[in-house]
Amino acid sequence: MVDTNWILGLALMIGLALLFTYITYKDIITFFVWLNIFGGFVVWSELLPLWIVVLDLVVLTLILFNTFFSTKRL
């Protein structure tokens, strides 16, 4: 029913994710994990559409695969 608000939604999602990445562990995986969590909140409040979280999950999964199966870590 409510229209999405991209500017507010993305600002909240990315801003909170950066803040919590800074507080916890400063790496790219952590950033995407926090992005996923706050993306969930923003989507729940209907500020952004659902596919934002799905996209974030896909990106997170790709990074995780890359990390787990990279020769450097093995």
Binding site: D3, T24, Y25, N36, G40, W44, S45, L60
Partner: protein, 520 residues
């Protein structure tokens, strides 16, 4: 207008501000505008103008007609003005053809026309004074252009004046284009005094295109969903006059009627319960009515346009389309319904109102309603791709609901069903009134503010204890604590369960990817 010195036969000219009928037409397609002063057809069959019926003081009758074309961009097929005798023969007949020629019919010799004027011009007031002499059987047409006398034409009549007249009728037929014309100053005068009392009426077809006036007369006529009219007019002076709402089958004048409230300019609509298709609004002129104009008919919040603003009724079964199953507007301006369905099938009654171009941004719909517990009722608002459904509560209630934003509203539907209940004679009834599309300023902003609050409050509830505990337990405890509090708020239904799964999944990713850092 004032008494003139150019009167050929000693007639007293009409006084300034005499009885008049103002009307105007702005239509596309072939349209007809009828101004009928009196007629021997239909309900007025006994209303012929006999010489002695209206206290004619002399043997002479003066009929006056004013014509004005503010614009003439389309095609005026024909304008007719005719006066018929009791024997149905034409006493006076003149016509304006598409070519702009003004022709005057003469009965002697019969069937011949004299062209009086060519190229009638936009923006000029034409005034026709027709004098009928009962004693000498002579009619005189006098033409004024912008109040200047430009011609006198005399026609010998054939024994029509001795008995009386049958009808006086002005009709205008247009095809295509965008024409605004006014028929003005119609009056019947006997020795300078108007005798047009309770005689004239003007018809407005509610289903035709908007009836505009030119910008000088900024009037409006509105009709809202609950069925009451609001007419705003420019030039009305005088006591209240009746306005009737009739079916397109023009004939009965005893149907619902409207009595004007002089102060508020609101017309209270009283209805006899007849369901009207293709309604006509008819205003009768009483003694003292100086004139009025109709303008566009507006559905509240939506302007009615030809061919697109319609309403229709649907029933689940032809058997229930009876006198006991109906929608009607009652005398309290309520859209009432009654559904009688004694069988065990699920029956419904539905009224669809087709409207156009109502943007829903910042709008809420509100209405008052009543229905008994047996019925199911809903108001459905249709947009091009989606719809809002608002369930109508039981008993007396006032509902106000924010509707889908950034949509174009195309249709209202009232749907009532018997809920498949056969008890208590299967009769369900109720009403809806005061349906409005309210504009709530800054509604969109309010909605975003509310959703933002809805998000931030649980977020603070989760984060605050997490960080309070993590101050004691160390930085590594942030993610597990976040997970625990998410679980708590999911259990208390503060956040939805799918959000908890995202948090849980993410927290697990944290724990696995940062395992080495956490054990340090």
């Amino acid at each position: 207008m004032s008494a003139g010195t150019d009167n050929p036969s000693g007639w007293t000219d009409i006084e300034s501000g005499a009885d008049r009928v103002n009307t105007a037409l702005n239509d596309s397609g072939t349209k007809e505008l009828v101004v009928q002063i009196f007629s021997s057809v239909g309900a007025d069959s006994n209303n012929s103008l006999f010489k002695n019926d209206f206290n004619l003081n002399s043997e002479r009758l003066n009929i006056t007609l004013g014509l004005f074309f503010p614009t003439l961009t389309g095609t005026l097929t024909r304008f007719n003005f005719e006066v018929k005798s009791l024997s149905n023969s034409l006493v006076v007949w003149f016509e304006i053809r598409a070519t702009g020629h003004l022709r005057w019919y003469t009965s002697n010799p019969p069937g011949t026309f004299i062209t009086l004027r060519t190229n009638l011009t936009v923006g000029i007031y034409y005034e026709f004074n027709i004098y009928i002499d009962y004693s000498t059987d002579i009619s005189v047409l006098r033409l004024k252009e912008n109040l200047v006398h430009t011609g006198t034409f005399i026609n010998k009549l054939t024994n029509i004046g001795k008995t009386g007249l049958k009808s006086i009728l002005a009709t205008a037929t247009y095809t295509d284009g965008n024409i605004i014309s006014e028929i003005d100053y119609i009056g019947i005068y006997d020795n300078g005094s108007s005798i047009a009392k309770d005689l004239g009426y003007v018809v407005l077809d509610l289903h035709k295109d908007s009836h505009y006036l030119n910008s000088i007369h900024n009037n409006l006529a509105t009709i809202n969903m609950s069925g009451n009219f609001e007419l705003i007019y420019a030039s009305y002076i005088g006591p209240p006059f009746p306005i009737y709402l009739l079916d397109s089958a023009f004939g009965s004048i005893t149907d619902g009627f409207v009595i004007m409230n002089e102060n508020s300019r609101l017309f209270n609509f009283y209805d006899d319960g007849t369901i009207r298709f293709d309604p006509l609004l008819v205003a009768f002129l009483n003694n003292g009515s100086k004139g009025f104009k109709f303008n566009s008919v507006i559905l509240e919040g939506a302007k009615m346009t030809e061919g697109s603003n319609t309403y229709w009724l649907e029933y689940s079964h032809s058997n229930i389309l009876t006198n006991t199953s109906f929608f009607k507007v009652d005398n309290s301006n309520r859209l009432t319904f009654n559904l009688t369905a004694n069988d065990s099938d699920l029956e419904f009654i539905q009224a669809n109102f087709n409207i156009n171009n109502v943007q829903t941004l910042d709008r809420a719909v509100s209405f008052q309603s009543k229905k008994n517990n047996l019925a199911y009722g809903e108001l459905r608002l249709l947009y091009p791709s989606v719809s809002d459904i608002i369930e109508i509560p039981n008993n007396i209630a006032t509902s106000r609901t924010i509707i889908s934003q950034n949509q174009t509203l195309t249709e209202f539907i009232f749907l009532f069903s018997d809920n498949d209940i056969t008890a208590i004679n299967g009769i369900t009834s109720g009403y809806i009134k005061n349906l409005r599309l309210d504009i709530i300023s800054n509604l969109s902003t309010t909605i975003i503010t509310l959703t933002l609050l809805g998000m931030i409050i649980p977020l603070i509830l989760i984060i605050t204890p997490t960080f309070i505990f993590s101050n004691r337990l160390g930085k590594e405890s942030v993610v597990p604590l976040f997970l625990i509090f998410s679980l708590i708020f999911t259990a208390t239904e503060t956040i939805p369960i799918w959000l908890f799964f995202i948090i849980a999944f993410s927290s697990l990713v944290f724990i696995f990817t940062n395992k080495d850092k956490m054990v340090k």
